[in-house]
């Protein structure tokens, strides 16, 4: 009797395949009907943070932005990778202090506008040393 080579199958060595861990054990009872549907858990970072290396959290103090839904004690997500444009809420360094305001075009020049109906716009002039620090992308306002 002789052996005949029928087919040579190449073995492919690639990336290890990661499989999700099954939650239920096989021998006891019925397998969970959800096992086929296991996916990654939802991660808020993925939803709220576009540029992780450029994103910072800040704590708000003060009430000048309540009109924009930003209250004292809220958490801001600030993205430095986004180009600031008129209409965006931004964090700016004004006279050595970080402040949150809306960037607006007012009479042809860029201004920082509070949103509480009372404060005056702060025009961005060179002598004030205003630097736009980053763009606010989200407000986290705890309710409980």
């Amino acid at each position: 009797m002789s052996t005949r080579v029928v087919e040579v199958v190449p073995v492919r060595i690639g990336e290890p395949l990661r499989l999700p861990l099954l939650l239920s054990r096989v021998p006891a009872g019925f397998p969970s009907p959800a096992d086929d549907y296991i996916e990654e858990a939802l991660d808020l970072n993925e939803l709220l943070i576009r540029h992780p290396a450029a994103t910072f959290f800040m704590r708000v103090e003060g009430d000048s932005m309540v009109g924009a839904g930003i209250h004292s004690g809220d958490l801001l997500i600030v993205d430095r990778a986004i180009e600031p444009r008129p209409g965006y809420v931004v964090v700016a360094a004004v006279c050595g202090e970080l402040t949150v305001k809306r960037l607006k075009l007012h009479e042809g020049r860029l201004c920082l506008m509070p949103e509480d109906g009372s404060h005056e716009p702060l025009p961005i002039r060179e002598e004030l040393e205003v630097v736009i620090w980053g763009v606010v992308t989200c407000v986290i306002h705890p309710l409980v």
Partner: protein
């Protein structure tokens, strides 16, 4: 085909990190002190201009700093480490090949291009790192690491803080102007020997015969010379070598003589080291505890260390703290005033799959307890859950009276923005 190499260097990195979150520090002199507020380890340009030396002991220059209105900070490594990670992440958007050379320096491999194109790319790197992270960087580009390093040094004098060095005649001119001791890898000792032979410039060094260089400066020196000729001999080290040991130690804020105070310190170090192990997915097979009086001060000078093996590799804070305490009792001498203590973890192995069946149940309980501890400490910060033997008042703890908030790594210390 080798392309170009860029060295990206964060200017006065620790000071820059402080300035990102405290804009009032812009334009004023700032210094950062070493652990325990010992000496100056970083200076802003304004502080350099005041003549404050690198390494100057704080207690000696304290009055001068106050007089000149210098803002002084204790080192805030949680902040610097996180900002460094961010800078490196931005650099990876420019090249898949990044070697993190130190906390504030990295080499990048760039595709081969003309000097002008590489200069534009270097400007883009500087612009993006600055905008995304707030950290100003210098960029030097060259055909080899040694030439990139040289270019980044020369970039200090360029207003845009960027210099590409690719054209042979440009390289030639710069080497001609560079004193030999400023070449990366040429130590002061080699420089003195070279100067005695009349070799003063980097260009002269480059043009020495190979055989002479190998004989007098060894193979390392020969590599440097070839790199100056534009032949890349120092490949980028892309992956950090696997971690073999993990060390944790601090100086005390004052001399410690009491065994129980020492116990608090080594328990704290063992617990924090265990936490780090868990974050890395590792377990330690052995631990060394060490104590030292330092070489100065009154009383006997003593350094002791003790190796303690663990029955099984572990990253459970309780196991490591117990081992540290066993070791400490053996090295402790009551007649000494200690200045420093710490632990070194050895025989690191991947956690999980280290236990025999017999210990599996025990191991599972340990793991879920440690998971809970980590979750609570992540949520509430630092050592919210700690071993009681790690102490609470900690009168021995290091002086860090001027540390800025951990703006990016602690929910309790986020930067405050006025609305």
């Amino acid at each position: 085909m080798p392309g170009a190499i860029a060295l990206v260097d964060c200017a006065s990195f620790y000071v820059s990190c402080e300035r990102v979150f405290a804009p009032s520090l812009r334009g004023v002199p700032v210094v950062v002190l070493s652990n325990n507020d010992g000496c100056v380890i970083a200076r802003s340009e304004e502080a350099k201009a005041l003549g404050i030396a690198m390494g100057a002991p704080y207690f000696q220059i304290r009055e001068k700093l106050e007089r000149e209105g210098v803002r002084v900070f204790s080192s805030n490594y949680a902040l610097y480490g996180d900002m460094s990670r961010r800078v490196m992440a931005v650099l990876r958007s420019f090249s898949p090949h990044v070697e993190v050379y130190s906390i504030d320096e990295a080499f990048l491999e760039l595709p081969r291009a003309s000097e002008e194109e590489l200069r534009s790319e270097a400007l883009r790197i500087r612009e993006r790192v600055g905008r995304w992270t707030g950290i100003p960087v210098r960029v030097g580009v060259g055909p080899t690491k040694t030439l990139a390093k040289l270019a980044s040094e020369r970039a200090k004098a360029v207003p845009e803080q960027v210099l590409a060095l690719m054209r042979p005649e440009h390289i030639e001119a710069v080497l001609e102007e560079t004193p030999v001791e400023e070449v990366w890898g040429i130590g002061r000792r080699h420089a003195a020997r070279l100067e005695a032979l009349g070799v003063r410039t980097a260009r002269q060094l480059r043009d020495l015969p190979d055989r002479w260089v190998r004989r007098h400066l060894s193979v390392t020196g020969l590599r440097t010379v070839w790199e100056l000729r534009g032949i890349s001999c120092l490949p980028l080290e892309l992956a950090a070598p696997p971690r073999r040991t993990l060390v944790r130690s601090r100086s005390f804020g004052r001399a410690v003589t009491d065994l129980m105070e020492l116990r608090e310190a080594v328990t704290m170090h063992a617990s924090r080291a265990a936490e780090k192990l868990r974050a890395l997915g590792l377990a330690a097979g052995a631990l060394v505890v060490f104590v030292s009086t330092g070489a100065y001060g009154q009383g006997p000078h003593y350094s002791g260390s003790q190796l303690v093996g663990l029955p099984l590799p572990s990253n459970d804070m309780r196991m490591l703290a117990r081992a540290a305490w066993d070791g400490l009792r053996r090295v402790y001498r009551a007649d000494c005033a200690y200045r420093k203590a710490g632990v070194l973890l050895l025989d690191l192995v991947p956690a999980g799959g280290v236990q025999g069946d017999l210990f599996a149940a025990l191991d599972e309980r340990s793991r879920s307890l440690m998971r809970a501890v980590d979750a609570l400490n992540r949520r509430w910060g630092g050592e919210t859950i700690r071993l009681a033997s790690a102490g609470f008042a900690r009168p021995w703890e290091m002086r860090q009276q001027r540390r800025s908030p951990r703006y990016t790594t602690s929910w309790a210390e986020l930067p405050v923005v006025r609305a």
